[in-house]
């Protein structure tokens, strides 16, 4: 576990998570930081990401988001917390019958914020930063996109939502070395748009 930090007052933490048992995983992520967390197995990684995204924990887990314990939260309070968290994860894949633009703009169009012109601007800038030609990229459905392109579309969707806490799971999975070098730019892009945001990279520990 690379992100085991000294205990801090929970109000300064964006996220604090622990799990009882053999795989006890005390994780503490300070607000505004960039952390890389490596899990020993896929099950514990998945449990962590699911708990954070749902703002809900199992009986053997403890989770606090932005200093607030999620156990016993009301539905509305949980919804509010969830709105502050976003992820680029295989769990939140792209919708297969929508093209890239529709995928990126769907949450914004559904929730009514941010406006679609802002979404278009952010998307244009992200694609530009990764050297992708928008016109042909945005009209393609996920099956017509490569792995890297799918990750970039999902990343643009994440940036549009602008979460205070962003979880990026298994970023390099399935990518070539050259592509890994390109996605390394996600951190810079996120930081540029959300200087006070917290970014957590989640991966499996390499044996």
């Amino acid at each position: 576990m690379s992100a085991q930090l000294a205990p801090r007052p929970s109000a300064q933490l964006a996220l604090s998570y622990s799990r009882r048992g053999e795989r006890g995983l005390p994780i503490a992520v300070p607000l505004g930081s960039v952390q890389r967390i490596e899990f020993p197995d896929a099950e514990s990684k998945s449990a962590f990401v699911t708990a954070v995204l749902k703002a809900r924990c199992e009986p053997d887990e403890e989770l606090e988001l932005f200093g607030q314990p999620v156990r016993g939260l009301s539905g509305k309070a949980r919804q509010k917390l969830r709105a502050r968290v976003g992820a680029l994860s295989p769990i939140i894949g792209l919708i297969s019958n929508l093209n890239a633009w529709e995928n990126i703009s769907l949450p914004a169009a559904y929730h009514g914020k941010p406006p679609l012109d802002v979404v278009a601007t952010i998307t244009g800038e992200v694609l530009d930063a990764f050297g992708i030609e928008p016109r042909s990229f945005l009209v393609r459905v996920p099956d017509e996109l490569g792995k890297l392109e799918r990750k970039i579309a999902a990343f643009a969707r994440l940036l549009v939502a602008g979460p205070e806490l962003a979880i990026i799971e298994s970023l390099n999975d399935g990518l070539s070395r050259a592509e890994c070098a390109r996605v390394a730019g996600f951190e810079r892009e996120y930081r540029r748009r959300h200087p006070a945001g917290t970014l957590v990279f989640v991966d499996l520990r390499e044996e």
Binding site: K54, Q79, R82, I91, I95, S96, N97, P107, Y110, A161
Partner: protein, 258 residues
């Protein structure tokens, strides 16, 4: 038995939930999904398949008139009572079940199995809002439009064909048809078509979102179950509706005693 009860309960819950959420159609992506559904269910079906379904209506008229040795009055009654009231909405429902019901249930089952419904939930997008409501509303509108289209083609076809089978002119038949036609016929088929559309879409959405398991093998099971139950639902609604409105069942073979 328990599964059937659970399915009925789930279907009713889904229907009530969707009916209460209709205002969500104002949201742009939901509206877009609704229009897409109307296009795929209504517009794309209105070419080949519907023309063939309409020809079936014309064929029914031709055979019935020939067998019954019909005169003008009977010919027009067959057109109105059988083709307009019954065959039109039923033919539209069959087209919708075969074309859109199968596609809709398979698509939703695939979304559920591949985790896309979970992704929508994580994006704080309500599944009823984004998947169920636009499909139900879209299929209702499209089924009604298809019904009118089939009714028009079948009745017009019947009017044009009848003079070749019985001794009556087109004008004679048409004027008798307008004499017998009442607004009840129009309301009857409209409400029935809306109910058919609702039942088909709700049934397909329910089965699509509740596959028996989360493997690829579940998709054909979902489609088979959805189509079978849609057909049963449509036939039941047709029979009950005819009994409630006209006090008759099975084209008048069974009459209400109340």
């Amino acid at each position: 038995m328990l599964r059937a009860v659970r399915e009925i309960e789930g279907g009713i819950r889904l229907s009530l939930n969707a009916a209460g959420r209709l205002p969500v159609l104002r949201k742009p992506p939901v509206l877009e999904s609704f229009l897409r559904q109307v296009y795929f269910t209504g517009v794309t079906a209105s070419t080949g398949v519907v023309l063939r379904a309409s020809l079936l209506g014309v064929l029914i008229i031709a055979i019935t008139m020939d067998v019954l040795d019909a005169d003008v009055d009977l010919a027009v009654k067959i057109l109105l009572l059988v083709v307009f009231r019954e065959v039109g909405p039923l033919a539209a429902a069959v087209v919708v079940i075969l074309r859109s019901g199968t596609a809709m249930s398979a698509e939703m089952a695939m979304m559920r199995i591949s985790g896309q419904t979970r992704a929508l939930r994580y994006l704080n997008i309500n599944l009823y809002d984004y998947l169920v409501v636009p499909r139900i509303a879209g299929v209702m509108v499209a089924t009604t439009a298809l019904t009118f289209y089939i009714q028009f083609l079948a009745v017009a076809g019947g009017l044009l064909l009848s003079p070749f089978i019985i001794e009556a002119s087109f004008m004679e038949l048409a004027s008798r048809l307008f004499d017998l036609f009442t607004p009840v016929d129009f309301y009857y088929s409209t409400i029935k078509a809306l109910l058919f559309g609702f039942a088909i879409a709700a049934c397909c959405c329910y089965h699509g979102l509740n596959p028996p398991d989360l493997t690829q093998n579940a998709v054909p099971k979902v489609v088979t179950r959805a189509v079978t139950q849609c057909a049963m639902l449509v036939l039941t609604i047709n029979a009950v509706f005819a009994y409630i409105v006209f006090g008759i069942l099975f084209f008048g073979l069974v009459k209400a005693t109340v």
